[in-house]
Amino acid sequence: MVQRPSSRRMLKQEASSLNLLPIMNLFIVIIPMLLSITAAVKIAMLAIDLQAPSGDDNDNSEMVEDLPKRIDLQLFTNRIVIKVQDVDKNITLYAVDSNAVAVNKRFNLYQLDDELRKLKKDNEKQTEIGIMPSDNIDFKTLMLAIDLSKQNGFVTINYKVPSTQYRKIN
């Protein structure tokens, strides 16, 4: 005797769909939170090196010849001077507008960029540059000089600290 299938079997199983509502709720919370904490500005860091003490190089006369020429960038309020070792003539970039507060208005920074690019082309081995800011130069000018130097392949910045002597005033 054949029995008919049980009523339970006869029931059509409804396709259970994945409940996405909790995931949706989670997304709705997380995405605005992430969007709000994402930093709008990015902080950069620029490294400099302190000037190494110069040693006695009498014994290394052969090595000195192979060394690339030393390049120094001197920053003044009214001019920027680029000094290259063993080159008599310095490159001087005079201020376009000495009274301007903003450095990009005071100096033609495109010109400085070009000069540094040319220097790098002439001294491919040189990756170091010395920067000596005068006392009254603002921090922004110094940073731009460092930035342009790094952009043009002078990755090691040697911050030249002028020696200072303090005297007691009676």
Binding site: I43, I137, F139, K140, V161
Partner: protein
């Protein structure tokens, strides 16, 4: 009258029943594609989110903008120097007021105290971990004169902080920085 109305009502109910049966079933909202987009967006945001930068930006200071950026030396332990026109703050988690930039130039005692603080900080860093390298991150306002920066660097060098970093805002557009 009542019989008639009853019959009409019955007819109406039948009609409405038939109409209901003919209506198509309401389809469920297809949100799978939306979920896909949200998942991609979520992964993208999680990858790109950086919470460190928001911590570093000092309040009330206009940092200069640069095109270049560098990573901290491996094993570097940062001590922050915040230079405001009227005060210099120094520290890593707790900040100490060292004095004003003018004091640093004119007052010998301020310079000595600052040097001692820096030496202690460098010693603490190396004592905690031999492999740690003491680094200084200088955050200064755009308008701060370089005479103060130079003096701070000189003192930092004396206190064994050989790695010095300057903090700036990162900008990818070169013309924005160089342009008039």
């Amino acid at each position: 009258m009542s019989i008639e109305s009853n019959s009409i009502r019955k007819d109406d109910s039948k009609r409405s029943y038939k109409m209901n049966r003919k209506q198509p079933k309401v389809k469920p909202l297809e949100i799978t594609s939306l979920i896909d987009i949200l998942t991609i967006l979520l992964v993208f945001l999680i990858k790109n989110v950086s919470m460190d930068s928001t911590k570093i930006v000092p309040q009330g200071m206009n940092l200069p903008t640069t095109i270049s950026r560098e990573k901290l030396i491996e094993g570097g332990e940062i001590t922050v120097l915040k230079i405001y026109p009227d005060q210099i703050l120094f520290g890593s988690s707790n900040f100490y007021n060292v004095g004003s930039p003018e004091d640093l130039i004119n007052d010998e005692a301020t310079r000595k105290n600052f040097l001692t603080l820096l030496k202690n900080e460098a010693k603490n860093i190396t004592d905690l971990n031999d492999k740690s390298i003491p680094c200084i991150l200088i955050q200064a306002d755009n308008q701060i004169k370089c005479r103060y920066i130079t003096e701070l660097i000189r003192i930092s060098g004396k206190a064994s902080f050989a790695n010095i970093y300057f903090s700036s805002l990162y900008e990818t557009d070169k013309n924005k920085i160089l342009g008039n």
